[in-house]
Amino acid sequence: MTEALTTAWEWITRAHGHLLIVDQVVIALAVVAFLARHRIRRWLQSHEAISRGFSSPFVRALLALGLIMLLGCRFNADGAFFHWSTHRDMFRSYSFFGILACGMTVVILTAGIDLSVGSILGFVGVVFAHMAIRWQWSGWLAIPLCLAIGAALGAVSGALIARFRMQPFIATLAMMVFARGLARYVTSNYKIGRNVILPDNTPFRYPNPPVFDLLDSKILWDNVHFSTLVMLGCFALTWILLTRLRVGRHIYAIGGNEEAARLSGVPTAAVKVFVYALCGLFCAVAGICFTGQATQGDPDAGFTYELTAIAMVVIGGTSLMGGRGGIGLTFLGVLIFGYLDKILSINGQGTEIRFMFTGLIIVIAVLLQRGEK
């Protein structure tokens, strides 16, 4: 038995010649933990405070994030992981998803779902590009208008769900297809950029709108992207909404037991419309940031983003059944998702590997979260 183990160990170390000390320690710890799993479980049972801590979704999500960060330290791509710019870029490229995930969290807490977030992002993005580039409107005018458009589209989904009793999946699926079509219709399926050909066949270049410069800027001595700030602002707003405002309590109540909430005087229909409108508003925020960074409006922007946003919410530990979870969990979900992708990409892995890992991490995260009742 001992011999077999020794041989196996030797085989492992030889097969991967560059196995570091840290790998060996991790493997040894994993083996010890596996062999002592019953003892660990018993120890946890006798220490109720600790086991209760482990059963909280927040601690579980934090642990998962910690593991991802350890992976990042191990596979640091010659120290790239330790550079702030890596983290800054991760935050930049995931800020759109983070903004969408805020709205998605609120919707999912009411036991709903919103599949239209990617499409609304795309539509609002091209509308904003048109206003800012072609019409050269000021940001002060264009941004509020675009936010209103996003909220209105969300409110339509919400009205279909609350008034006409459509299932959220169906109503927002319809909105997803419709908004994507709308984005292509208003752009005639072309990207809206600064370069155009005038009728007399001379190329013309619109000036870069100042609002784009703002949206693509870095602040705090080039250390943080503007869109990251916007994302953090969205998270803060959602946190206030869910924990400090009355409507937040109503959202949790509807997700927990809609009938009991209705009989307790919660205006369920109005809250649902509000929730989908808010989600649409966040989509508009993401669409504006997206266009600002790309300096053009792409009618196909945000394609499949809804699935990423849902995955982030679920990885964080918010229940798709509604009523359980929170915005803090979603923030961890965004970080887990973002860092996993970033670590794989700085190590030179292509999308094929990244997609497969993403699928795996969703399964693992959901299995972990299932531990609680």
Binding site: R244, R246, G248, A253, A260, L263, S264, G265, G323
Partner: protein
């Protein structure tokens, strides 16, 4: 001479749910070719006994003998295979599937590779339907037929597998008069074929029309079995009630004030969309400081009456309601709460509480507009409010932040009561406030009700525990199939008269 062994004998059956006994030493004996009525009040143990017979509950003690052979069913499939078929109130048909597919569901006749043999299936299905005198299109989905036809289809399903014992749980609750006649004709036919039928009903006339023998259960015990012809009605009622009044229940002292709620000709359509309204032209009134008791067996419409008054079904109700001297049209729970109404529903887990939320948040849920006017929540005020109610209602919880799902039934119920008290109601509608609550908590709830009426709240109380109803109510109205069949004053009533009225026997209004 020994008589032939009965078709089925259940003896010394006991079963408890979480320490609460539901059946104690119960028995049931069925002979071939008889209609056996199983009677008892709500919660007497009828459905538990049937579920044991049908193999739904398997962890019981006692013996079951089928044709003299001891059997023990470990699943509904085993019971079904042994020829026992239960037709539940909620039909177990698959609504969008066709008649013939439903009849053979789970027992499809198939050849090699699962290839369905449709033709013989249709032939035998048509034969069975003819036997029951039912002419329907075999390929239409069952959901397109009225409930009565669906019930017939369910019976067809039982016959298709040669069921010897057919249990019908309140089969007429959804039927109109002519449909009931058809059902009785079918029952007569089944009886002649040698089937044994267990018939559960709350309707006195029906029971004595259809029964060969009657078994009465009360509080999970077997009280008696007798041929229907030899059982006078008053003895039957006495068997069902039996209990002496519980002296422990504090008698309520009324503090009559002004009229709080006056209801004239109130009608609530059936929430399931059936033709017959759930509440049909009910009139009642209740004064400040008074407890109006409503008695009714299953399907009486009492719960729907309270729900309708509270606006739980929206604007579909008809009738004139006067609340606190002003006209009131029930539209939504939100409006009703604002006007001083509160409704404690009869199922706290599905309609009363949000189980995943904390005690504090559940307590303040219905009164948030008052607690936290404006946008912002006031966490401090909420915590203080929860702490106050924990103190006055004696809610036993370690921490107001714990989720209500981890509380005991009695404490959960007190949280719901606290939620409604916090809305400062003027009229409190209580639907089974002591259901699933231990004895100690029950008494605390009785005392609380007395305290609230002393404070001038008007209470409308539904409870299926008659001693409780009699002791607490200042007046009692009795409902049967959506209409009021009797009204009693405090002290001028006994359980037998209430039960008579609840089973459809009309008494003169005093």
């Amino acid at each position: 001479m020994f008589p032939p062994p009965p078709l089925l004998r259940m003896a010394s059956i006991s079963k408890s749910f979480g320490g609460v006994p539901a059946l104690v030493d119960a028995q049931l004996e069925l002979r071939a070719g008889e209609v056996h009525v199983l009677a008892g009040e709500n919660g007497a143990g009828k459905s538990t006994l049937i579920k044991i017979l049908a193999g739904v509950h398997t962890d019981h003690t006692g013996t079951i003998e089928l044709r003299g052979e001891p059997v023990r069913f470990l699943s509904p499939q085993e019971a079904f295979a042994a020829g026992i078929s239960v037709i539940h109130q909620e039909l177990s048909l698959v609504p969008p599937m066709s008649v013939v597919d439903n009849v053979f569901l789970g027992r499809e006749r198939s050849g090699p590779g699962g290839w369905m043999r449709r033709a013989p299936q249709r032939r035998s299905c048509r034969g069975l339907l003819e036997r029951l005198g039912l002419v329907v299109d075999l390929d239409r989905p069952v959901e397109e037929f009225p409930i009565s036809v669906q019930q017939m289809i369910e019976i067809t399903k039982a016959l298709a597998f040669d069921a010897q014992i057919i249990v019908m749980d309140e089969p007429t609750s959804a039927l109109t008069e002519p449909e009931v006649e058809r059902l009785f004709a079918v029952i007569d036919d089944l009886r002649e074929r040698g089937c044994a039928i267990v018939y559960i009903s709350h309707k006195m006339d029906e029971i004595f029309r259809v029964a060969d023998r009657i078994t009465v259960l009360r509080d999970g015990r077997h009280i008696g079995t007798a041929p229907a012809a030899e059982l006078p009605r008053d003895r039957f009622i006495h068997w069902m009630v039996g209990r002496e009044l519980d002296e422990q229940i504090p008698h309520h002292t009324p503090h009559r004030g002004e009229e709080r709620l006056v209801v004239e000709e109130f009608t609530v359509p059936d929430p399931g969309g059936r033709q017959r309204p759930a509440v049909d032209g009910v009139s009642l009134h209740v004064r400040a400081g008074e407890i109006l008791g409503i008695a009714g067996l299953q399907g009486s419409g009492a719960s729907e009456l309270l729900g309708g008054l509270f606006g739980a079904f929206g604007r579909c109700t008809r009738g004139e309601v006067t609340l606190l001297g002003e006209p009131f049209i029930p539209t939504s729970p939100r409006r009703s709460i604002e006007r001083g109404l509160a409704l404690l529903t009869n199922d706290r887990k599905t309609t009363g509480l949000i189980l995943g939320m904390s005690l504090t948040h559940n307590t303040t849920l219905a009164s948030l507009p008052r607690h936290s006017p404006g946008l912002w929540l006031r966490h401090g005020a909420e915590r203080a409010c929860a702490a106050r109610h924990m103190e006055t209602l004696r809610i036993r919880a370690t921490d107001p932040g714990m989720t209500v799902s981890s509380l005991s039934g009695g404490n959960q119920q007190k949280v719901v009561l606290a939620k409604w008290l916090e809305t400062q109601p003027r009229v409190l509608l209580l639907d089974e406030p002591t259901r699933g609550v231990d004895v100690g908590a029950k008494h605390e709830i009785y005392e609380l009700m007395n305290r609230w009426t002393a404070e001038g709240i008007a209470i409308v109380l539904i409870t299926s525990e008659l001693p409780e109803l009699i002791a607490l109510s200042d007046r009692i109205i009795v409902m049967h199939r959506g209409v009021i069949t009797a009204e009693f004053a405090h002290g001028d009533v006994d359980q037998g008269r209430i039960l008579h009225a609840a089973m459809g026997h009309r008494e003169e209004h005093p």
